[in-house]
Point group: C2
Chain length 253, copies 2
C-alpha cells in the first residue's frame, strides 16, 4: 500500500519544503519509487527540483480541478525514481474555488485515488497555513510529518496544528496518523535550541524522530541549483541527516 | 498623519514578526506613539510581547468583525508608548467569513478609520500568505515593508508579492507605496547570503534599506521572555540593526 505523507506546519520557514524534497530524494536514491506533490502556491518544492513555470493545466492546480491526472502531469527529477507534480501560482486561486464547493476538502484525495500504484511513497509539501490546501493534504494523506524549528515561535503553533490533525481525523480522515515530528535547523550551540528541543521531546516523546537535522548551509544552497542534497553534496551533514531520516521513516512503516 | 505600515511577505519564516515587534518597539523607545496590529492567527507578535490567550472579542478578530474598536482592545506592552491589538486563533475563521462578503477586503481599513489619532505609527504583522487577511492589511496600510531572508526560496516569491502589491494599488488602495525591502537573518559568511543580497540590491535598488539585520540568536531568544530586543538586550547587534532601521524608516517618511 502506497504510503501518503503530508509534510505540514502552519508556522512559516520551518523546513517543510527542504524536508519534503530531501526525504523523498533520499528514499528514491535507495531505490524506492517516490512522488512529491507540491501543494504550495509558492512552488518552492518545484523550483527546488529545477522545475519552473508549470502551466496550470500541467500542475497540481489542474489535478485538483479534475482537469488532468497525476499520471499526465508528473515529471521526472534529477533523481531517478523521484517524480514531481509541480505547483504554480494559480494554486492560490484554487483556494477560493475549493472553499465554496461541498466536498472541497476531498479534491486532492479524489484526484489521487487509483493514481498511485506506481509509487511506494507520496509526499505532499504544504503551504504555511491551516487553510483548505493543507486540509486537502491531511484528507488525502494517511500520515503526517511535522517539521519543527528549534525556536520559540515554532513551538507556539504546535498545539494548534495537533488540534487540526485530530479534527481532520475525527471528521474527514479516520486513517490519519502522526508519522513523526522532526526537529530542523538545529544549532546545538544555542541555549534556545537546546531548550526548545528538550521541550519538544518531553511533550511529544515517541512522536519525535531520533534524528534532528542540523543547520547546514549546503541545504540552503542546493535548491538554487535545482538539486536535492543527495545530488548536490552527498557527504555533508545535511545529507546524512536526511538519509538517517529516510531509514527511520521506513522503520516506522 | 498616522503612518500605517503592513509588514508582509508570503514566504514563511523570513522575519515579519520579529521586524514588526522590534521596529515598533525601537520607535516607541524613541518617544514615538506606536501601535502593533497582530493580523496572524498564529498570534506570534502577541506572544512575542507577552500577551497570550486573547478572547476573540478582545482581539483583531473582534475589530475586523466590527464588534469592537481599536481603542477598546489595544493593550499596553513592555515598552511605554507601544500598544498592541492582539490576535487569536479564531482569526483563521475570519478568513472564510471575509471571503464571502462584498467588501471583505476593506474590513480592517474600515475598522481602523478614525481610531488612530493617538498613534504616529501603526504596524500590521501579516500571516505567511497572500490571502484575504494580507489583502486587508494592504488595503488598510499606506506603506509596505517587505522582510526578505537572504536565501534562495525567499527570492522566489518576491515577484509574486510585488505583483500583488501593484494589483492592490490599482484596484483597492491607490495610496499604497513600498516603504522598503529589508534583508533579514543575514549571515555574511555564507556565499548564498552574499549572492542573494547582491541580487536583491540589484533588482530592487532604491527600495532596499541600507541596514540589513544580521542573524543574531538574541532576537530569537527575546520573544520567549515576552520582550522586544530593546528591553531584552539593548546592546546586541540585533538591537542596533532595528534602531538603525527605525531611523531609516523615519527618514523615508
Ligand atoms: N537544516 C537547514 N539548514 C540550513 N538552512 C535550511 C535548513 N532547512 C531549511 N533551510 C533553509 O531555510 C529556509 C526555510 O526552509 P523551507 O523553505 O524549507 O521552509 P518551509 O517551512 O517550507 O517554508 P514555508 O513556510 O515558506 O513553506 C530556506 O531558505 C531553506 O533553504
Ligand atoms: N535576525 C534574526 N536572527 C536570528 N533569528 C531570527 C532573526 N529574525 C528572526 N529570527 C527567528 O527566526 C524565526 C522566524 O522569524 P519570524 O517568526 O519573525 O518570521 P515570520 O516571517 O514572522 O514567520 P511566519 O511566516 O511564520 O509569520 C523565529 O524563530 C525568529 O525568532
Ligand atoms: Mg515551503
Ligand atoms: Mg510571523
Amino acid at each position: 500500500m502506497t504510503r501518503i505523507v503530508a509534510v505540514t506546519n502552519q508556522k512559516g520557514g520551518v523546513g517543510k519544503t527542504t524536508t519534503a524534497i530531501n526525504l523523498a530524494a533520499c528514499l528514491a536514491e535507495a531505490g524506492v519509487r517516490a512522488l512529491l506533490v507540491d501543494l504550495d502556491p509558492q512552488a518552492n518544492a518545484s523550483a527546488g527540483l529545477g522545475v519552473r513555470g508549470a502551466e496550470p493545466a500541467q500542475s497540481t492546480y489542474g489535478v485538483l480541478a479534475g482537469d488532468t491526472s497525476v499520471g499526465a502531469v508528473a515529471v521526472p527529477t534529477a533523481v531517478p525514481g523521484l517524480d514531481l507534480v509541480p505547483a504554480c501560482a494559480d494554486l492560490a486561486g484554487a483556494v477560493a474555488e475549493l472553499v465554496n464547493v461541498d466536498d472541497g476538502d476531498f479534491a486532492l484525495a479524489q484526484a489521487l485515488a487509483g493514481q498511485l500504484d506506481r509509487y511506494q511513497f507520496v509526499f505532499i509539501d504544504c503551504p504555511p497555513s491551516l487553510g483548505v490546501l493543507t486540509v486537502n493534504a491531511l484528507v488525502a494523506a494517511r500520515e503526517v510529518l511535522i517539521p519543527v524549528q528549534a525556536e520559540y515561535f515554532a513551538l507556539e503553533g504546535l498545539a494548534q496544528l495537533l488540534e487540526t490533525v485530530a479534527l481532520v481525523r475525527q471528521r474527514l480522515n479516520p486513517d490519519l496518523r502522526i508519522l513523526g515530528v522532526l526537529v530542523t535547523m538545529l544549532d546545538g550551540r544555542t541555549r534556545i535550541a537546546r531548550e526548545v528541543t528538550a521541550d519538544v521531546r518531553e511533550h511529544l516523546a515517541a512522536h519525535v524522530f531520533d534524528v534532528a537535522v542540523p543547520r547546514n548551509v549546503r541545504l540552503a544552497e542546493a535548491p538554487s541549483y535545482g538539486l536535492p542534497i543527495s545530488r548536490y553534496d552527498a557527504g555533508c551533514a545535511g545529507s546524512d541527516a536526511y538519509f538517517d531520516l529516510a531509514k527511520e521513516v521506513v522503520s516506522r512503516g
